[in-house]
């Protein structure tokens, strides 16, 4: 199940980036080769970019790839109680961030249903939507981590010593 989700996310990420490359490169080719351009490319590549970022950020959460300063909390490793407490605090804060972000994004999605982008005419709701999905997904993952008491991933900075 997890590998299936991971693979799907990876395929979507690659697709987003490939499409962005084609959009922007295609525009360069059109400008110099054919003296024209597609107005939609900029709008489309930006939309794809926003989706790619929030999708990739979601996929990066369970594997602990997000940038974090773990040196201090790493010093608590030998004191299991304190380490567990710090881990819990971090996850509760992540959960709180997700709730705030998700609630705000939800309201903006509702607002954006009725407005349309200029060139492609897509509903403006498509911009805050990935933020909403991302916050829901990361929020759920944080909840699972809290329930299962998954140990905190300290990243490679500490392993290396």
């Amino acid at each position: 199940m997890k590998t299936f989700l991971t693979r799907g996310a990876e395929a979507l990420l690659a697709l987003c980036l490939a499409a962005m490359v084609l959009c922007v490169f295609g525009n360069v080719v059109l400008r110099y080769g054919f003296d024209s351009g597609i107005n939609a490319t900029e709008e489309l590549s930006r939309l794809l970019f926003v989706w790619m970022v929030f999708l990739g950020a979601t996929a990066a959460y369970p594997v602990g790839q997000h940038m974090a300063f773990t040196s201090l909390v790493g010093t608590l490793r030998d004191r299991p109680r304190a380490f567990a407490a710090a881990t819990l605090v971090i996850r509760l804060l992540v959960l709180m961030a997700c709730v705030l972000l998700g609630w705000g994004a939800w309201q903006q999605v509702v607002v954006g249903l009725d407005s349309h982008s200029v060139v492609l005419g897509y509903p403006v709701a498509l911009l805050p939507l990935p933020a909403l999905l991302c916050s829901v997904a990361i929020g759920l993952m944080a909840l699972v981590e809290i329930a299962q008491r998954t140990p905190l991933d300290l990243g490679h900075a500490v392993d290396m010593e």
Partner: protein, 430 residues
């Protein structure tokens, strides 16, 4: 306490506490922004969501994934390897030659790739085993490679300049051009430092490579060497925007890798796309979080408050510059280049501008300083990469990088005392 002062306290406290306990920085920035909004009576969750999205909904930022992709393709398509082979053929035989190879390769690679990490990965994978084999002290070798890759974000193209330019509204092209000479100066400084470090080494020299072989290896690298000409030349003459230059670089690397070197196959391309997209997402998610904090920083008018506190310093730009650079060195020990730019550039640049410091010069100094932070302990991502790829303990890399770190700090000081080294070429080239 005024609202502005309170917002400043919340900003600093939020950063220290939330990041200090090891929280994901993007969310730490989001929560800090939220807390500032609360004390400024500007609370609305919609603003958090809106600004996170707006933080990445920007065309110039598209250069970031494109440059990362170009770097990935260069490494998997054998472009980086050919550059290193060429450098080795020319200077590999002199005493300590592989060190000069590392420096030369660092300068050449930095003119093609946008990030220090890609350069560090390529060089430690290829050069470090070679240096080991020829009896070079492993700590110094690793340290030199780490230091060399710091040139990556200084010589264009540069992801760091893109992010700095978008964050502070500074011309990305001007920043790119401002990096050329300082990047070369850094290379020369490393050569000098390496000569000093060399004295205490006993080394066996490799036999010189015959001229015919040198020329053959140079010929093999010629496609790679054309890349910086396309990027910098294309941008300088206004053919491409920085974003377009990035996509052209990626496309060029792809064509070379697939059809000229034929060292890459389509599955490799898929992997490169996934890796580039994932790396970008992590960096840009941080941009998104930082956008919330910087929105609140702007609303709280923190730079003005700080300028007020700094008082007479503002009348002495040189002294102010020294103070700000020292602060940045301190920040750089613990923070990576990107978060340093995202969090502190919007606060510091307005102060610098108020003191009459040229924004492009300041941008270069800021990014240079932040890039040096990539090789300062305790948190230095380039150190991690070199240690990881080279399978070395971290403390050895740290020990090895020290002389070069000191060299860089001297270079930084040089640019403070003689800003003309940076500003004159920019004025001449624009």
């Amino acid at each position: 306490m005024t609202t502005e002062a309170l917002a400043f306290v919340v900003f600093i406290a939020g950063m220290l506490v939330l990041m200090g306990i090891g929280m994901n920085m993007a969310f730490a920035l989001l929560l800090t922004g939220a807390a500032m909004a609360w004390v400024m009576d500007f609370w609305d969750t919609q603003l958090l969501a809106q600004n996170m999205v707006a933080g990445v909904d920007s065309f110039p930022l598209l250069a970031v994934p494109f440059f990362i992709l170009a770097g990935e393709l260069m490494n998997s398509g054998g472009i980086s390897k050919r550059i290193i082979d060429m450098a080795q053929a020319w200077v590999g035989h002199v005493r300590g030659g592989l060190g000069y190879v590392a420096i030369g390769a660092a300068v050449l690679l930095s003119a093609m790739s946008g990030s220090a990490l890609a350069d560090a990965a390529a060089m430690s994978a290829i050069l470090l085993p070679m240096m080991r084999k020829h009896g070079y002290p492993v700590a110094s070798s690793a340290g030199l490679i780490a230091a060399g890759s710091v040139i990556g974000p200084i010589i264009p193209p540069s992801m760091a300049f893109v992010i700095y330019g978008v964050t502070t509204n500074t011309s990305i092209s001007a920043l790119f051009i401002s990096g050329i000479v300082p990047g070369l100066v850094m290379g020369v400084a490393l050569v000098v430092a390496w000569r000093v470090v060399l004295r205490r080494m006993t080394l066996t020299s490799a036999p010189p490579v015959p001229m015919a072989e040198r020329l053959r290896l140079t010929g093999r690298a010629v496609w790679a060497l054309i890349m910086p000409v396309i990027i910098i030349g294309g941008m300088k003459s206004g053919i491409f925007t920085p974003t377009e230059a990035a996509v052209v670089a990626a496309f060029y690397a792809l064509v070379i890798a697939l059809f000229v070197h034929r060292e890459m196959r389509l599955p490799d391309l898929y992997d490169a796309l996934v890796r580039a997209a994932s790396t970008t997402a992590v960096v840009m998610f941080l941009c998104a979080g930082a956008a919330v904090a910087s929105y609140m920083i702007t609303l709280a008018d923190l730079p003005s408050t700080l300028t007020g506190w700094l008082g007479p310093l503002v009348d002495h730009p040189r002294v102010l510059m020294v103070v700000m650079m020292l602060v940045l060195v301190a920040i750089g020990t613990a923070l990576d280049l990107t978060p340093t730019i995202l969090i502190f550039a919007p606060v510091m640049l307005p102060i610098a501008v108020k003191a009459g410091i040229d924004p492009v010069y300041f941008g270069l100094m800021f990014v240079l300083n932040g890039a040096i932070g990539l090789v300062t302990p305790p948190v230095g991502t380039v150190l991690n990469v070199v240690a990881g790829v080279g399978r070395l303990p971290m403390h050895q890399v740290i020990k090895g990088v020290n002389p070069f770190l000191i060299t860089y700090l001297i270079v930084l000081g040089l640019f403070i005392v003689f800003p003309q080294i940076v500003t004159a070429p920019v004025a001449w080239m624009r």
